[in-house]
C-alpha cells in the first residue's frame, strides 16, 4: 500500500489525521476504550512476567504498539551491548558562556506576564552513584497554560499566550541543582486515537558527565487522571519506573503569594569512567 507523506504527519494536527505512525485508516476511529484495553493487556502481561521472576523494566519499551507512532520507528533487533569507549566516556561541556542565568525563568521572556498558574520546578541531577552532575546543561520546553505549544505545527484550537514561549535552560549548580520558574502547562489533545489527551508535562533534556548518560524525558504532575489513559506515559510498563517521572508537590519550595513549588530529581545512568580526584571532588565544569 502506498504510504502517506510523513511530512504531514503530526501528533497534534486536529484535522482528520488518520496516519499516526503510518497506521491503518481505521485507527482514526479507535476509541480510548480500544486503547485502554491494549494498554491494560500489556500491563497485565508485564505483571504476570514479574511474578514469574522477570526483571523489572526501568526504561520505556521501544516497541509499544499503543503509541501508534512507535510502530514503524522502533528497532526490531535488540540493542547491541557495547562498552563505552573514549569519546563516549566524556560529555560535551556547557557553561555560562552558553546559557544566561535569566533563561531559567520562563515567565519573563516577554513584555507582560504569561497567563496561568506560576510554578517553580526544582531538583537535582544525579548520576547512578548518587553523585551530583555539576555545571551541566538542562533544557526544558512545554505547552502554555491552555495546552498550546508555540510550535507552528500545533493547531490545537486553544489560545496562544503572547507572553509565553515555553523554553528554558540552565546550568546545574555544584550540587547538581537546577531551578526553573514557569507556568503549569495544560493537558493537550493529540491524534493517537479518538479523544486522546496527553497529561500535562514538561519536556526535559539532560546531559551527564558521559555522553552515554544523555536523556530526553518528560516530567509530569502528581495526581493526573490521564496517566492510565496515556500511551506515551504507559510506554514505561513498570509502575515504580513511571512514578519516577512524576514531580512531588513541595510546600517548602512554594513561595508565599508568588508560586507553587514542585520538586523533581533526575537520576542518570552510570558513570562508567574512572574518575580523577578533581572530578570526584566535584570540580566546576565551566571553563570560564
Amino acid at each position: 500500500m502506498p504510504h502517506e507523506t510523513t511530512a504531514q504527519t503530526d501528533e497534534l494536527v486536529p484535522a482528520a489525521e488518520p496516519k499516526a505512525g503510518h497506521a491503518q485508516l481505521d485507527r482514526a476511529v479507535e476509541t480510548q476504550q480500544d486503547l485502554s484495553d491494549e494498554i491494560n493487556g500489556l500491563a497485565d502481561a508485564y505483571k504476570r512476567a514479574l511474578k514469574d521472576g522477570a526483571p523489572a523494566e526501568t526504561q520505556p519499551r521501544l516497541d509499544y504498539p499503543p503509541y501508534r507512532s512507535s510502530i514503524l520507528r522502533h528497532p526490531t533487533k535488540s540493542l547491541h551491548h557495547a562498552d563505552p569507549e573514549t569519546i563516549e566516556l566524556y560529555s560535551p561541556a556547557f557553561g555560562h558562556q552558553d546559557v544566561h542565568a535569566l533563561e531559567s525563568d520562563l515567565t519573563i521572556q516577554h513584555n507582560g506576564e504569561p497567563q496561568g498558574e506560576r510554578i517553580i520546578v526544582a531538583g537535582k541531577v544525579l548520576d547512578g552513584d548518587g553523585r551530583p552532575v555539576a555545571g551541566q546543561l538542562v533544557e526544558i520546553w512545554q505547552a502554555n497554560a491552555s495546552g498550546r505549544y508555540i510550535h507552528k505545527r500545533d493547531q490545537h484550537p486553544a489560545p496562544i499566550d503572547p507572553n509565553f514561549t515555553g523554553i528554558g535552560r540552565c546550568i546545574t549548580g555544584p550540587d547538581g541543582s537546577y531551578r526553573f520558574t514557569t507556568i503549569k502547562p495544560g493537558a493537550y489533545p493529540w491524534k493517537n486515537h479518538l479523544n486522546a489527551w496527553r497529561p500535562a508535562h514538561i519536556h526535559f533534556s539532560l546531559f551527564g558527565t558521559e555522553f552515554t548518560q544523555r536523556i530526553i524525558t518528560q516530567m509530569y504532575f502528581p495526581g493526573d487522571q490521564l496517566f492510565p489513559l496515556d500511551p506515551i506515559y504507559q510506554t514505561i510498563v513498570d509502575q515504580d519506573a513511571r512514578d519516577r517521572l512524576v514531580a512531588n508537590y513541595d510546600h517548602s519550595l512554594t513561595e508565599p503569594e508568588w508560586a507553587l513549588g514542585y520538586n523533581w530529581d533526575i537520576v542518570l545512568t552510570g558513570p562508567k569512567r574512572t574518575w580523577t580526584e578533581n572530578e570526584a571532588l566535584g570540580a566546576e565544569g565551566d571553563e570560564e
Binding site: S69, S78, D83, E85, G128, D129, I167, I236, D286
Partner: protein, 188 residues
C-alpha cells in the same frame, strides 16, 4: 546521598515528541566549525522508518574528538565563535528526513584506534533516545581491530561505517527498523 556506593535507579526516558522544533535547535547548531573552513567536511544522511519512508521529525546529536583525536572539553556550543571546536553538535532533519553537520574527520583517540563519531537519535515515535557510532570507511586495519565492530556480523557491521562522498564528506543513513537496520547500542 551520604552513601556514595548506593546505586540509584535511572529516571526513564520519554519520546522527544513532535514539538521540539522551537526549543532544541539553535543558531549554527549543526556547524561544529564554519562550512568551507580548512579541514571541514559535510556529514549527512537520511533517517528511515521500518517502511522505508523518510522520518521528517528526528533530531540528532553528534559528539566527537577533533581531527587530532583530542577529546575537547570547551564550552560555547550555543554561541559558536567561529574558531572554537567544541566537538558537539545538534541537527534536526529537514522535511525530507535528511540531516547535515559541518565537522571534521575525527582523529583516533589512541594510536591505531578506529576513529568514530558518537551519535544520539531522538524522534517522535521513538520512545527513548538511541545511540550509535559513525566509523570512517578508511583504515581497514583499525576497523578490523575495533572491539565493537568485531563483535558484529559482517552485514550488521556495515551499518556503522559511513560512505565517503566525492567531495570528501561522509554519508551515514540511519534505518530505525527493518532491512539494514542500524546497530543501536546499549551501554549498561
Amino acid at each position: 546521598m551520604s552513601n556514595q556506593t548506593t546505586q540509584l535507579v535511572p529516571t526513564p526516558g520519554q519520546t522527544v515528541g513532535p514539538f521540539y522544533g522551537y526549543a532544541l535547535p539553535f543558531e549554527k547548531d549543526n556547524e561544529l566549525l564554519a562550512p568551507g573552513s580548512p579541514g571541514s567536511i559535510r556529514l549527512q544522511g537520511t533517517v528511515y522508518d521500518g517502511a522505508g519512508e523518510t522520518v521528517p521529525d528526528a533530531i540528532l546529536e553528534i559528539w566527537q574528538p577533533d581531527a587530532q583525536g583530542n577529546i575537547v572539553q570547551k564550552t560555547g556550543s550555543f554561541h559558536r565563535d567561529g574558531y572554537s571546536f567544541t566537538g558537539w553538535g545538534r541537527g534536526a532533519v529537514g522535511y525530507s528526513g535528511v540531516y547535515t553537520f559541518t565537522t571534521v574527520n575525527p582523529g583516533p583517540t589512541s594510536p591505531g584506534a578506529a576513529p568514530f563519531i558518537s551519535v544520539a537519535i531522538f524522534a517522535r515515535g521513538l520512545t527513548n533516545r538511541l545511540f550509535t557510532r559513525i566509523y570512517l570507511p578508511e583504515e581497514q586495519e583499525a576497523l578490523a581491530k575495533d572491539p565493537l565492530l568485531a563483535s558484529l556480523e559482517p552485514e550488521r557491521r556495515e551499518t556503522l561505517i559511513a560512505r565517503r562522498d566525492p567531495d570528501g564528506g561522509l554519508t551515514f543513513d540511519i534505518r530505525l527498523q527493518g532491512e539494514g537496520e542500524t546497530v543501536f547500542l546499549d551501554f549498561q
